[in-house]
Symmetry: none
Subunit: 219 residues, 4 copies
Amino acid sequence: MERKQRRRQILEAARSVFAARGFHQSSVADIIEEAGIARGTFYLYFESKRAIFGELVDQFLVAMKNNVRRVEIGAHLPPPYEQLRANFSRAVALFLEDRDMSVILLNHAQGLDEDSDRKLQEFYDAMALALQRAVEGGQALGLVSIEDTEIAARVMLGGIKEVIHYLVVQDAEPREREQLVDDLVQLIFCGVIDGGLKQLREPVSRVPDSIAHLERGGT
Amino acid sequence: MERKQRRRQILEAARSVFAARGFHQSSVADIIEEAGIARGTFYLYFESKRAIFGELVDQFLVAMKNNVRRVEIGAHLPPPYEQLRANFSRAVALFLEDRDMSVILLNHAQGLDEDSDRKLQEFYDAMALALQRAVEGGQALGLVSIEDTEIAARVMLGGIKEVIHYLVVQDAEPREREQLVDDLVQLIFCGVIDGGLKQLREPVSRVPDSIAHLERGGT
Amino acid sequence: MERKQRRRQILEAARSVFAARGFHQSSVADIIEEAGIARGTFYLYFESKRAIFGELVDQFLVAMKNNVRRVEIGAHLPPPYEQLRANFSRAVALFLEDRDMSVILLNHAQGLDEDSDRKLQEFYDAMALALQRAVEGGQALGLVSIEDTEIAARVMLGGIKEVIHYLVVQDAEPREREQLVDDLVQLIFCGVIDGGLKQLREPVSRVPDSIAHLERGGT
Amino acid sequence: MERKQRRRQILEAARSVFAARGFHQSSVADIIEEAGIARGTFYLYFESKRAIFGELVDQFLVAMKNNVRRVEIGAHLPPPYEQLRANFSRAVALFLEDRDMSVILLNHAQGLDEDSDRKLQEFYDAMALALQRAVEGGQALGLVSIEDTEIAARVMLGGIKEVIHYLVVQDAEPREREQLVDDLVQLIFCGVIDGGLKQLREPVSRVPDSIAHLERGGT
DNA sequence: TATGAATGAGCCTTCATTCAT
DNA sequence: TATGAATGAAGGCTCATTCAT
């Protein structure tokens, strides 16, 4: 128990250090200073700087996997939308509750070495695949007409990642989380345009006053 | 002129090295070897390893800025959709034509140091702002009902980044670029669900045969 | 008494560890693992890693000193040869019975630090001196014509050390120990050439068939 | 040429440092201080501390191998004794001319790691084999009656090593080198006893005055 | 006495940058 | 302008030893 607590303490320290400076800018010296321990103690609990970083990432990925459930279709089950929304909600919650790890994962976790990159890649691939399956389900139900489900899934994944990243980096609890999730789900599944693309396709003759100022805007 | 060519030669070498290994894994030794020049020569043309990296990023960002134009609304102008689509098309083209830089920007350019991160941040912020303005334009035109245009813009930006990243990393010219751009625009503006969310909200009683296999899927 | 047993246990463990890996390659961790004790316990019995090593060496040197007796000359005493041979026999027995320590002494015990080196040096010096005295005795008896008895003693000492080392490292009980001792004594006192150097000094005109193959040998 | 000189300079520094303190007690810091160069410069010329040590050892072993020639038997060749003596003379000269390396080889070169130990082992094995072949030659010529030529060779090798070691550590040019070589050859081939072992086998009834003092000697 | 967590000095090695030629 | 040898700060990691329990 003692041992586990010390481990946790070091992990916390490392997490905050990595989040603040990134992997390369962070030295073991930074971590032990943050944790208030001696040099050797660090290596009593972790094999290397890489190892503790990997453990942090793994921890988070596992939590994420455990919180995202396959969308099942059936009469006695919640409608797909509810299931999807619940997944989104849990994922967003995880990210927002652990901003350090979010920053690490979305900002610094890439380009360390091939193994590490592959692990991350595989995680995102798994998320993308889950989304792709959901989209294919929608296709089968006749709700989706787009053909390239892989691209569709990637767009959705990217949207989620970027929003999370944005919110975390802004470091502002911007609004009600559930409202955010609703927006996110709607944007990702339905886009921004209410009635589809048709409306965009026509030339606009009358500029509403409300946006006239945009025409010659600054940077 | 001679000097400019030498600069360009070193920049090319650095670009390919950075793309292959990332910033931290790449050493000045790698770059000068790739360029076939001596150690000292490198510093005759660039102040530091960071400087040449920054220059590569800047170069690309400038090209990108030059290729993305503000969407103007007016009777004698192309419809907003055409303008938007043209922007997307040019951006995608830029990325796909310079995969090295795409990898660098989307994978390795973050977490180097505060200056660098801020510059990148500012670039993406600018892209997000452009998208946000477009969305606000749609709002004014009554096409968009979503209120949080900032989030909407971020979702769109993330979708684009992720797709580009995916395509570049896959290293496969997957399909007609224009077709891809069409899909991208549709996804980002209209989402995947044809008729809006309503359809997802209802429970599904009948599972189409075509997706029955998905219910108990593997990994 | 309990304490002495624990000491002995740790000494045994250290001996086998040192013999297997040498002083520098062996860590205190290795020793306590081999002994099955805790880190702190080690320092309850020995001041340092160096100390336990020194104690092992001392132990062996004392045993050796106790087993090598001065060659006494007198009418009622065994002939010098018997006494010398007995000394050799006991020394060889000691080495072969404690191969771990033999390896340590003959292989790893040098170059640790000045104190340690000096102690070892002194031991070998004592052995050399004993041999030198014996040679001087022979000189006085008219059996030895060589003048530099110091060198003679060193040659003899080196011969013994090398043979022991060889046998221990080979890890094979090569032959009857007493036969070995006989050979050793003969070699060290009488050399390999039966009739002295004269025979070697003359050119060889006729190559015996038995060694013709040696003239153009391999490695 | 410049580069070779710098290499040589570092090698010299390392040689003297290793000889003075041994491999483990010597740090790269010691070597660069002795050489008067910067830390990085060391690694410009040698891969590691181990590498430079290995190079020093190799250098010496090669020189030794080049100086020891197979003893050939034939009517038109110098008598075997001359050839043997010449080998000894060259070997002794090599050692005495490079005392640093002698100390390193005879004192510190063992127990570093398996590779290193094996290399050294192989070198001594080769020397032993050469001596064994010589002894076998003597056997064939009827000059040698001892049967175990392997042991004989080891005794000879040990005698040489120990004498060299002794002389080097004493750090005194003790006498004419050729005289030393003569003694060495005689001792190694003919032992110390003029007329063979028989003389030692008889009890001694009369103690010559000249050695009476030895009977109750000091340490 | 026994434990094992904690300590921190010390070492090897890397690599961006400088500078004499 | 070009070279490449030289620099030295910085960082990861080990391990003998201490100490609170």
